[in-house]
């Protein structure tokens, strides 16, 4: 089956969810939408089960941290419809301090470790996750190391500061 055009995909989502799903952009042709944590499972369920869309394959779940934004923590889902060969990217942004989102393991078993990794790196709590523990880091670690407040290098080091390079 042919790839679903982004306009049509967006129209289908718009018909079902209206204002609750907003378009972020189409970087390099990949439709990117944003939604809220209240809608995320409904949206994923719709995308997975709709007979015309069939986004049956969960490619990836990961997180991102924007310390300057009001909603600092982002969770990013990549889905793939293997029948139509269409991909979609879904983003949910949460306020730091209230980083809870329903788990996608109710739809895909494979979301389990991806969510554990996102928890481990960004501290996102996936509600209803069967086994939300750290996965790559040690259990007694208290920080969430992929957040931007944890610099990799010595913060006192100045030779790599941007202002030395005219930025």
């Amino acid at each position: 089956m042919a790839q679903i055009p982004n306009e049509e995909l967006l129209k289908r989502i718009g018909e079902k969810f209206g204002e609750q799903v907003t378009l972020v952009g189409e970087p390099y042709g990949l439709l990117t939408v944003e939604t809220s944590r209240e809608q995320i499972i409904d949206l994923l369920t719709f995308l997975k089960t709709d007979p015309a869309l069939k986004f049956i394959f969960l490619t990836d779940i990961t997180g991102i941290h924007y310390p300057e934004q009001e909603k600092q923590i982002g969770i990013i889902y990549h889905l793939h419809s293997l029948t139509t060969n269409t991909r979609i990217r879904i983003k949910v942004f949460l306020v730091d301090g209230d980083v809870q989102i329903p788990t996608a393991t109710v739809l895909w078993e494979g979301a389990n470790w991806m969510e554990r990794e996102t928890y481990d790196f960004f501290g996102v709590i996936f509600d209803g996750h069967p086994d939300l523990r750290r996965i790559l880091n040690v259990d007694d670690m208290t920080a969430f190391p992929m957040r931007k407040e944890f610099p990799l290098e010595d913060p006192n080091r100045v030779d790599k500061k941007d202002y030395f390079f005219g930025r």
Partner: protein, 403 residues
Amino acid sequence: MQNHPVYTDNDPQNELSTLNLGPTHPATHGVFQNVLQLDGERIVSGVSTIGYIHRAFEKIAEHRPFYQITPLTDRLNYCSSPINNMGWHMTVEKLLGITTPKRVDYLRVIVMELARIADHIVCNGVLGVDTGAFTGFLYMMEFREAIYEIYEEVCGSRLTTNIGRIGGFERNFNSIAFAKLRKFLIDFPKTLKEFESLFNRNRIFVDRTKDVAAVTAEDALAYSWTGPLLRAAGVDYDVRAMNPYSSYEDFEFEVPVGTNGDVYSRFLVRNEEMWQSLRLIDQALTKLDKEPSDVFHADVPEFYLPPKEEVYNNMEALIYHFKIVMGEIPTPNTEVYHSVEGANGELGFYLVNDGGRSPYRLHFRRPSFINYQMYAPMSRGMLLSDAIINMSSLNVIAGELDA
């Protein structure tokens, strides 16, 4: 998944033993642990623990210019590093809008398919070893060595190759590389055939692998499996065929699909993939003859690192070199997802760029990480010896598992 008896603490028959399979055990093929509860030789439950060689690649990548991320990708799946390298370079090329000349694409196909063969040689060879057949492994390892010699000719290193540049290769392929490649194409099929006949109708091997750890297509999809494991379960998803990159659309090849999803199917799928890879390399060599022989990179001086000799003798090259290494050249403020068919499945790079010197966020979708999470649930009810065979057929590479 198989049904297994449920035990409680008060059960008089509850005499389970705990077995630590790993972290360092020859059968785990890497550093990761499974704590298994055994009822005799049957596995009742298991918990997988990973992260023993976690090296924080994603964090390091946030602090490095694009070129310095290539050595990180080498160390993901170190059995087929060129695929990782080129997947990363292609992601950056997609971000920057660089189109590579056809000859570069074909050379990349050759190197990536060689890497796939090298990876499958190890996986299938070791699967034989785990069933007690050492001969096949020895036969095949000779050709992994031959492949490493070709890498060595192309880039100077063998295991963690760091092959390539953004836009192409660091240097042109020399005649020795092509001679070694041609010799490989003549010699390897004979051994591969011999290897197949050693195993495909071997009573012990077939009995140990057939119907062992069978996974249905539904389960494989629910667990986001990709690569030979998913195809063995009957789903013909191959990134090369579905979303062609590096001009795979110019080539004729088949995507081998299994039926049972068991260890034997995975073995057959990987074997067949090696034949298809040979076919691809053969076609690429023919196509190369029609391309100008001196082209080996795209004409993008602002992103392609100039050769060292020019850096020392040419002012312009020196400036470009400095600007590239220091990450001074502006890059678009956007995000990109690019995936390639790694030896274990879909290897994806999700790159969020803010125009800075290094990626704002880089996430590796590592096939081993995603494939391996099914191991503990699927081992329930299995015999310990079958669980070992199952693990080698999953081809879990610790570097790719932990990143």
